[in-house]
């Protein structure tokens, strides 16, 4: 195939313990480390491997958000993407709006495969890939742990509640990645230098002629309820007694 598109979301880093602001207006993001959503990094790694084994010619990495998303796109270029597109907006973008934006880019670029993370670790929605596939009227293969190509088709192994499900989809298609699809490569310093010379185009979201207004209104952020402090027992006898006291054994 010619082109693969991967979208990356700028999110609070996986290792940051997220805290709710005292006034309930959001979560603390000032001075917090931001990274590529881990599932999107897996998506990009998979696209690069497909290109490296000769099954695709070009990998385009895309992000939707503020100008700061350029950092994540540069990381994507350093990992090995050929070029980057930032769809710039200062507003929050819901999954349906993101899907509409991505569809516009697919149509412009003539993309044959889109690989996305199965969910973003900030809003935990797990929607964009499925919505994009619906709008595009193409197959979706979500939660992928293995992807193989032959004769214009992809055979995808999916991590589902029952175990592993294998489906076959015609291309073009949308694939979303699960954790065990691959282990993303580390970026080396020379690659970061090289990435600075790769093309990164910026498009204003308003120039794409898509409806992106928010449908849902978040009225409050609250910290989760804390579990009550438990007890420590000294040995197995103490554990058995504690379980019996609670009527659990």
């Amino acid at each position: 195939m010619e082109k693969i598109m991967v979208a990356v979301k700028r999110v609070v880093d996986y290792n940051v313990r997220v805290r709710v602001k005292p006034d309930g207006s959001g979560v603390v993001t000032d001075g917090v480390k931001m990274s590529i959503n881990p599932f999107d990094e897996i998506a990009l790694e998979e696209a690069l491997r497909i290109r490296e084994r000769g099954d695709a010619a070009e990998v385009i990495v895309v992000s939707i958000g503020s100008s700061e998303c350029q950092q994540q796109l540069r990381t994507g270029l350093a990992m090995g993407a050929d070029r980057a597109i930032l769809v710039e907006t200062g507003q929050p973008v819901e999954p349906l709006a993101a899907a509409r934006v991505l569809l516009k880019l697919i149509e412009r670029e003539g993309v044959e495969l889109v690989i996305l993370g199965k969910q973003a670790i900030d809003d935990d929605n797990s929607q964009t890939g499925q919505m994009l596939a619906a709008l595009w009227e193409r197959p979706q293969a979500t939660f992928a742990s293995e992807i193989k190509f032959a004769d214009g088709k992809a055979t995808v192994t999916r991590e589902v509640d029952a175990g592993l499900e294998v489906i076959e989809v015609d291309l073009p298609a949308v694939v979303t990645t699960d954790l065990r699809l691959n282990e993303p490569r580390y970026v080396k310093l020379p690659d970061i230098m090289k990435a600075k010379k790769k093309p990164l185009d910026t498009i204003a979201i308003t120039d794409l002629d898509v409806t992106t207004d928010a449908q849902f209104k978040v009225t409050n952020f609250a910290p989760p309820e804390q579990r009550q402090k438990g007890v420590m027992v000294e040995d197995v006898a103490g554990l058995v007694k504690a379980l019996k006291d609670k009527g659990l054994v």
Binding site: V20, N125, R138, P139, Q140, T142, D161, L164, P224, V236
Partner: protein, 313 residues
């Protein structure tokens, strides 16, 4: 007109417990009716099970050879065709529902709400974000169909005291042929189901190997518990993916959860915080799992588990 349509999850033979929990959530909306739709090759037995769920007004049975397997691309246009008669369309927040419901929403041109954990009104909900580190209150627009998934760990299964009518329907919808089911592997087990078992024993990286993980299986079997695992144990290949508990695995709410050799990353804790009692066994007394455990024991799991197993039997 205010009615909810719930898309039933099943394995071709029987209804998944996630559907009964979704019905419980729907009962909190205060709407006029709750209908359940069963898509299957032959949904007779499944539809009868759904009709017994308390709160269900009607079961719609859509039998079609293309519905033999739950392919989102095939089911979504059928759900979308039925949606015109409903104010809300719900599915469980399982891999089935997460795959299907966004596709339904996009076909209807509406957004989708994920993981409802609390219903405040028919259009106001609470749901977790950031692996459960924050709970948001969300208002949905009332002028369009609301498509949503239900965080099933937040709800008890509906009782089985109902007798809803069952109606067979033929839908005149073009079904795509670009997606084909090949097979499902694994998952066949005589052990209790991880998502519904009242007792769960989970193992972590500290087990060290799939051979050592047999210790967890043996102990779980001895107390009739389901087996779970941390992401680290699954990534290391000790157990298959369907045992993973946490943000990106299964969210569970057993009465008793025993975490063995699991340090307790926030991504794991979000999967168990609705458990009745959490027991942690870990040799590192500083492990974060002890912050959420109701009962904690610092010790070597390879000594503690055999001892515990014989003490309980």
């Amino acid at each position: 007109m205010s009615r909810i349509l719930i898309v039933a999850e099943h394995d071709g033979n029987s209804l998944n417990a996630a559907t009964a929990k979704t019905v419980s959530c729907a009962a909190d909306f205060g709407v006029e009716g709750i209908d359940v739709v069963v898509f299957a090759a032959d949904g007779a037995a499944i539809a009868e099970q759904a009709a017994r769920l308390t709160g269900v007004t009607r079961v719609i049975r859509v039998d079609h050879s293309a519905n033999a397997q739950p392919l989102a691309a095939v089911l979504a246009p059928q759900v979308a065709a039925l949606a015109a008669d409903y104010s809300h369309v719900l599915g469980p927040s399982t891999t089935f529902g997460k795959d299907l419901m966004p596709r339904v929403a996009a076909l209807l041109g509406v957004g989708q709400l994920s993981d409802i954990m609390d219903v405040q009104s028919a259009y106001t909900f609470r749901r977790p974000i950031y692996a459960g580190n924050a709970i948001i209150t969300v208002e949905a627009p009332e002028d369009r169909t609301l498509v949503a998934t239900v965080r099933v760990a937040s709800y008890q299964a509906a009782a089985e005291e109902g007798a809803a009518e069952i109606e067979s329907r033929d839908l005149d919808v073009a079904l795509p042929e670009h997606t084909r089911f090949k097979e499902v592997r694994g998952g066949s087990s005589d052990r209790p189901d991880l998502q519904t078992a009242p007792r769960v024993v989970s193992g972590g990286r500290a087990l060290g190997s799939s051979e050592n993980f047999e210790l967890i299986f043996g102990f779980a079997d001895s107390i009739g518990a389901a087996v779970g695992a941390s992401r680290a144990a699954v990534d290391a290949g000790y157990v298959p993916n369907e045992l993973q508990v946490g943000q990106t695995g299964k969210i569970i709410a057993p009465e008793l959860y025993i975490a063995v050799g699991i340090s307790g990353a926030i991504q794991h804790l979000t999967g168990i915080k609705d458990a009745g009692t959490i027991v942690a066994i870990n040799k590192d007394g500083e492990a974060p799992i002890f912050e959420v455990a109701d009962i904690g024991l610092v010790g070597d799991l390879f000594q503690v588990i055999p001892e515990l197993q014989s003490a309980l039997n």
